[in-house]
């Protein structure tokens, strides 16, 4: 007769946690931080499979870990957001509600399924001011943390977030914020503990733009990203610093070439919002 092995619940949870943590720390990292113009997502990503995406008008999503698992969560988040926005109103879709839904889902998966999800996700909502931005970290076991303005996840997240938190200010310009994030991502993983230099091709960068109305998410790629990465390009710095909240983003950013048709459209959403008028708002 086969022997029934006994494993204590503590042991089972510990094993699942360890499994999930190992999986998450193997991958590349992503950071999310607020800057004066919104919320910035930077992920180290060599593929065209997205780690950072749009959930709703003012809500973005970033994830690290196992792709099929967080992609499934992302789609569910988009569905929940669109369903709530359709049933109630677009303004009634909040980052906190999405974060809670993810916490519920990940908690249920962690306790009930044999294998925990090896993912860590971030839900960020851009507010009217940098202080009103919300960044939530949801871990594999369903716990949620409200992060104060900056977070790192995946890979050697601890080391990265140390460097980030020290230098982060809410009044960073977009260029400063991108360079800070990229420097933090490159601060680990080099040979012999040396920092690495990350190029535009190794990065996935997107923002939730505080000054836009309607859909605020847009990707920054190509020339726009390269120029942001170039240390202290004087023209760009000046524009960013002197830009007042009522002005549109600098022309160079608005023309940013984008990869997908989807994000391409976001370049012109300002006009659409005027046009939509009361129909959607």
């Amino acid at each position: 007769m086969a022997m029934q092995f006994y494993a204590s619940p503590e042991q089972i949870m510990r094993d699942r946690s360890e499994h999930a943590r190992k999986g998450i720390s193997r991958g590349r990292s992503a950071v999310v931080l607020t800057y004066e113009g919104g919320v910035l997502f930077v992920a180290e990503n060599l593929t065209s499979l997205r780690k950072v995406s749009e959930i709703y008008d003012r809500i973005g999503f970033a994830a690290v870990g196992r792709y099929n698992e967080f992609e499934n969560l992302r789609r569910a988040g988009v569905r929940k957001a669109d369903l709530d926005g359709y049933s109630y109103d677009r303004r009634d879709v909040t980052g906190r509600a999405i974060a809670n839904a993810y916490a519920h889902a990940l908690g249920a998966i962690f306790t009930e399924q044999v294998k925990a999800y090896e993912v860590e996700i971030c839900v960020a909502e851009v507010g009217a001011t940098a202080e009103a931005d919300e960044i939530y970290r949801i871990t594999y076991d369903g716990s949620v943390q409200d992060e104060p303005g900056v977070m790192a996840m995946g890979g050697q997240a601890e080391a990265i977030s140390g460097a980030l938190k020290e230098a982060h200010r809410v009044d960073l310009s977009l260029g400063e914020a991108v360079r800070l994030a990229v420097k933090a991502l490159g601060s680990v993983g080099g040979e012999g503990g040396q920092p690495r230099t990350l190029g535009a091709g190794q990065l996935e960068v997107a923002v939730l733009d505080r000054r836009r109305t309607g859909r605020t998410f847009r990707r920054i790629t190509g020339v726009a990203l390269t120029s942001l990465l170039t240390e202290a390009a004087p023209a760009e710095e000046e524009t960013d610093v002197t830009e007042s909240p009522s002005e549109p983003p600098p022309a160079q950013e608005r023309k940013a070439p984008t990869q997908s048709a989807g994000s391409d459209d976001l370049e012109i959403l300002d006009d659409i919002d005027e046009a939509e008028g009361e129909s959607k708002e």
Binding site: N72, R75, D82, Y86, A105, R215, A261, G262, D265, I268
Partner: protein, 279 residues
């Protein structure tokens, strides 16, 4: 809360199920009560139940399309609304207008807008223009039961084909019938009770290669002609300053022409008709 998170620890179905990229299909599985056309209707013909929205015209112009709709909704012999908006952006590159039962039409447009945005977010890419038109046709088809009981709505869809290689084929117009039939139109089209007169006006005045501004003027004139002969279509209301809703879609995106712009054009049209009543 529809399809929400129940208090049990069970994983909500739509987290576990990868599903499709269509918001309508998602609704039909998780919240069918939110879909128009899924609601049981009492037997009988109820055409007089709700206000009717009327005339919308769309015109192909150089680099895009223009769509214009009058502002009147009627309930029998009464004016139900003087400032209803029948023309809306469907997404950043396309426009949708509706005629028929106003409530059903507004719901149809709202659902269509979410459908397009949802697909774009899930897939990371936009639908093609034909794909969008097909989705709209499917939504109209779902409303057939209600249409047979008098709650018919017919949309018109126009937009920019970003994949077009021929610059004269950038702007495209699609019309629909109540059964969900999808037809591509050449040059211009109109829907609603006044469309017969509006299209007659357009037939005489339309030519290819119009600029956006010329197409806007043409649209406002066509609506004037429709209002001239159809009581359910409202002309430009100069006393209340209520003018047609005019939108254009080009490769730069969609734009609603402001009330000042349209007002100036409408006043010019009215002034010309003072001289020559037939335009």
């Amino acid at each position: 809360m529809p399809a929400g998170f129940d208090p049990s620890r069970r994983l909500p179905d739509f987290f576990a199920n990868p599903g499709t990229s269509s918001f309508t299909q998602f609704l039909s599985l998780n919240a069918p009560e939110l879909l128009p056309g899924r609601r049981p209707l009492p037997p009988g013909y109820s055409a007089d139940l709700a206000p009717h929205a009327t005339t919308v015209v769309s015109i192909v112009c150089a680099g895009g399309v223009v769509m214009a709709g009058d502002r009147r909704a009627t309930a029998g012999n009464l004016i139900a609304s003087r400032d209803i908006e029948k023309v809306h952006p469907a997404d950043p590159y396309s426009l949708v207008g509706m005629a028929g039962t106003a409530g059903v039409g507004i719901e149809l447009i709202k659902l269509f807008q979410v459908e397009l945005e949802h697909y774009e977010k899930i897939e990371g890419a936009m639908l093609s223009l034909d794909g969008k038109a097909n989705r709209l046709a499917a939504l109209v088809r779902n409303n057939l039961g209600a249409a047979m009981q008098g709650l018919a709505v017919v949309p018109i869809f126009a937009g920019v084909d970003l994949a077009a290689t021929d610059p004269t084929k950038v702007g495209r117009i699609f019309s629909f019938d109540v059964a969900g039939g999808l037809y591509e139109e050449t040059g211009y089209d109109g829907i609603g009770s006044g469309s017969l007169f509006a299209k007659s006006a357009l037939k005489k005045r339309y030519r290819t290669g119009l600029s956006v501004d010329e197409a806007v003027t043409l649209g406002v004139e066509a609506l004037y002609d429709a209002a001239d002969d159809d009581t359910a279509t409202g002309g430009p209301d100069l006393t209340r300053k209520i003018y047609p809703v005019v939108m254009s879609a080009t490769t730069e995106g969609t734009r609603r022409h402001t009330d000042e712009e349209v007002g100036a054009i409408a006043e010019a049209v009215v002034a010309r008709r003072m001289e020559n009543i037939g335009g």
